[in-house]
């Protein structure tokens, strides 16, 4: 074999499998709509395109089993979208299984394994039954309305395919397209050999042939364009022209195969029925007045870019933000009167940098829909398995969040949904006995709130059994017997490492992923998870995640000689407390009274052991911040140094995790400042107060 290194299929294969994953997810989502009756004719077309695209790519890589199955699937979809078969709930179920099996073939092709010869044969038989119109199971009483069939009519098309020299190297063989095209109707092929060079001058990897096809079909232009969707534009020049007018088929002719063929256009005689694909001599371009010329081919409005390239761009923008901050700091001594151009230029630079940063982040942003699309299936399958009744309500699927965050969220979200179904939602009879509807509801919601993404998984189940959780925690040695814990503290125990017990592990929830792993996964992407639960009414898991992992708006604060950054989105207000506002309560510690509320006061200098800081509450500044759970705390700092956009540098990967610190950043003067983790500070503050309280009691006892 040739050892030409330039011919590397693996790169194209990787892209193909990436596309397959997206297409299968889209297909699953579409089938879910068809299943619950909210689907439309567009959904059937979309599903067809998904299967068709997977088949097309599979053919290019000679994944024969995959292509064969996809072909049957695609043909059944075609029968549905043309109205030749009816979309009943039973048929929709077959489509779900069809998509699963197609996924099996894709994974097998990706892993290079061969599936058993009869893999998916049952599903294939069901799909074939859709095509033949012989239902393999009785139809349901209330069929989902199938979209109306398109008017069956024949049109003659002239299609010219002139591959670019490099087309074959991209894994696209014209042969596969020709085979697919011929499947659309009666076709005549004329090859053009005029570009074929002498053997000695030939590069065997280049494409030299071109073709003109005359196709008589009842399919539309879209079907023809789909055949060339992988090559039109960059890899080949594709022209699709309609010849003459559409000839309507006679009534009752089903597929239209037996309808009289349309009058043969002079330039494109209808091929004889006995030779569907026959050789012909090249002929000149025809049909001057025949419809609109599709010379522009098929355009795509998006491009696929390697993630590394985007990440490099994100990093460079991060560096740019730092440089811009540095320039701003250097020029802070200049007034607009003395250096108008410089000051104005720096302001514009700041403005443009921010816009650039937002645009770059938008490239990485993806709707959480990709994440949510698996949920309906999960709920359906699991509730059936557990003998429970549950419906899923989703909202905010279009909310966008960074791709990395989405990837990291997949497992935790799946686990939370499993958990809600397994431990939250009760059995139907139990629900009815408690005056609830037999069918439980799981609500999956996403929204943007104060510069973060909040994802909530809530259910109307029985809520957390705090008594049992506490018993379990004592049993596991996580808390001491007799310890007084608040409801909230007990609820949070479920996230403690080692809380998951063998008794709790079922084949549903117990997949080796405890709630502590859920929390860790979320923390890894700078997020937090809290749980709110009302006994008998249900639980709500709130996941708060950063929109982006690269840049954020922060408030620079000083504590002694140290500089810290507080995420701007956490800050509610700042104030210099009066002696009346700052108090110390027994068993609680320092608090701040603010408009009738008590807010826990946390002294940052105390927490981080900083000297030379202001220790008197009334001389320092208190920044009131809000955690994701909605709690407010006051942080005592020396002063506020100003608002600033900061580039987030991971402390975990560059140093090690530090409690109370979420990340680090580089300031304009080159100094490193730590970014405070407000949620963690609250916990640390409570612990410190408790320790100080116990020490004080100990000291009194000693006296």
């Amino acid at each position: 074999m040739s050892d030409d290194q330039s011919y590397d299929l693996s790169r194209f294969k990787a892209t193909y499998f990436e596309e397959c994953a997206e297409l299968l997810a889209t297909a699953e989502e579409t089938i879910a709509r068809l299943q619950d009756g909210t689907g439309s004719a567009d959904d059937l077309n979309a599903l067809f395109r998904c299967v068709h695209s997977i088949k097309g790519g599979g053919g290019a890589f000679a994944f024969d089993d995959l292509v064969h199955f996809a072909h049957v699937f695609e043909t059944s979809m075609d029968a549905l979208r043309s109205g030749r078969a009816e979309l009943t709930p039973h048929v929709a179920d077959i489509l779900v299984r069809g998509n699963d099996t197609l996924g099996d073939f894709v994974r097998a092709a990706q892993d290079g394994v061969t599936l058993p010869a009869d893999h998916g044969s049952e599903v294939k038989a069901h799909l074939a039954a859709i095509i033949s119109g012989e239902p393999a199971a009785p139809k349901a009483a209330a069929p989902v309305s199938a979209p109306p069939a398109a008017a069956a009519g024949f049109t003659t098309w002239t299609i010219r395919l002139a591959p670019a020299p490099g087309m074959l190297r991209t894994g696209n063989d014209p042969l596969l397209m020709i085979r697919e095209l011929s499947g659309l109707g009666e076709m005549k092929v004329a090859a053009d050999l005029s570009r074929l060079p002498a053997l000695a001058e030939m590069d065997a990897l280049n494409a030299y042939l071109a073709w003109t096809f005359t196709l008589v079909t009842d399919k539309g232009r879209n079907s023809i364009e789909e055949v060339f969707e992988f090559v039109a534009g960059d890899s080949a020049d594709v022209t699709i022209e309609q010849i003459g007018k559409t000839v309507e088929a006679e009534d009752g002719d089903g597929w239209g195969l037996f309808a009289p063929l349309p009058p043969a256009p002079e330039t494109a005689p209808a091929p004889p029925a006995a030779a569907p694909v026959a050789a012909a001599q090249p002929h000149p371009a025809a049909a001057k007045g025949g419809g609109d010329a599709g010379a522009a081919g098929i355009h795509t409005s998006s491009i696929r870019v390697d993630l590394d390239r985007v990440d490099r761009l994100v990093n460079m923008v991060g560096e740019l933000v730092i440089t811009q901050a540095m320039l701003g700091q250097q020029a802070s001594g200049f007034s607009i009167e003395s250096h108008p151009e410089l000051v104005q230029g720096l302001q514009e630079l700041s403005h443009h940098t921010r816009e650039l940063q937002e645009s770059v982040m938008a490239i990485r942003a993806q709707p959480v829909k990709a994440l949510f699309s698996r949920a309906p299936r999960l709920v359906r399958d699991l509730s059936a398995k557990l003998g429970k009744q549950a419906k899923l309500v989703m909202s905010g699927e279009t909310t966008e969040v960074d791709k990395t965050v989405i990837e990291q969220l997949s497992d935790p979200l799946t686990h939370l949904i499993r958990n809600s179904l397994d431990h939250g939602i009760e059995m139907p009879e139990e629900r009815i006995a408690n005056g609830k509807p037999a069918e439980g509801t799981i609500h999956l919601a996403a929204e943007h709130r104060s510069g973060r993404v909040i994802i909530q998984v809530s259910d109307d189940g029985k809520g957390i059994d705090r008594k049992r959780v506490l018993e379990k925690a004592v049993e596991k040695g996580l808390v001491e017997r007799g310890a007084q814990l608040t409801d909230e503290q007990i609820d949070q125990m479920i996230f403690a490492p080692g809380f998951s017990t063998a008794a709790q592990v079922s084949d549903v929830s117990g997949r080796g992923v405890g709630m502590d792993v859920v929390r860790r996964n979320i923390q890894d992407v700078g997020g937090r998870v809290v749980v709110q639960s009302t006994p008998g009414q249900g639980s709500r898991f709130i996941l708060s995640l950063p929109l982006t992992l690269a840049v954020m708006d922060g408030m620079l604060v000083a504590v002694g000689n140290q500089r810290y950054v507080l995420p701007l989105t956490n800050i509610v207000e700042s104030l210099r407390p009066t002696p009346q506002q700052a108090r110390t309560l027994v068993n609680v510690g320092d608090v701040l009274t603010l408009r009738g509320d008590y807010i826990r006061l946390i002294r940052l200098y105390d927490l981080f052991g900083i000297r030379n800081a202001i220790t008197e509450t009334t001389r320092g500044l208190v920044v009131v911040v809000e955690t994701e759970g909605g709690d407010r705390i006051g942080l005592l700092v020396d002063e506020l140094l100003g608002q600033q956009q900061v580039v987030i540098k991971s402390l975990d990967s560059n140093y090690r995790p530090v409690e109370g610190i979420s990340a680090a950043t580089i300031l304009g003067d080159g100094r490193v400042a730590l970014i405070l983790d407000v949620g963690a500070l609250r916990i640390m503050g409570e612990r410190l107060n408790r320790a100080q309280g116990e020490a004080a009691i100990g000291a009194q006892a000693a006296e």
């Binding site: 074999m1 030409d4 020709i178 050999l193 074929l196 990897l205 073709w211 050789a279």
Partner: protein
């Protein structure tokens, strides 16, 4: 893929799958054959072929023109359904007829 001289003719056994890299190899072999003994006919033995790419068909067509120009003959021996269908689907059935 090997080039073999036997009984005054040059034979090349085509593999089961003639994909893009195999087409490049075939081109090199055919160029070699074209440069060899000016009297020998060239036979492409296609009994084993199960799948043929467009790239391979191009090479065969260009070689056929080359041999014809050199007043030599190149033929395909044992062309099965895979070969016939490939040429036919590409609109080149007539070209194949000249080679078998």
């Amino acid at each position: 893929m090997d080039l073999r001289e036997s009984n005054g003719r040059i034979e090349i056994d085509l593999p089961v799958l003639i994909d893009l890299p195999a087409s490049a190899e075939l081109r090199d072999l055919l160029l070699d054959a074209l440069a060899r003994d000016a009297a020998s006919d060239v036979v492409l033995k296609a009994q084993a072929v199960e799948r043929m790419s467009t790239a391979c068909v191009q090479v065969v067509l260009a070689a056929a023109v080359g041999f014809r120009g050199a007043a030599r003959r190149m033929e395909i021996e044992g062309a099965g359904p895979a070969v016939t269908e490939t040429f036919t689907q590409l609109g080149l059935a007539a070209e194949l007829q000249k080679l078998i």
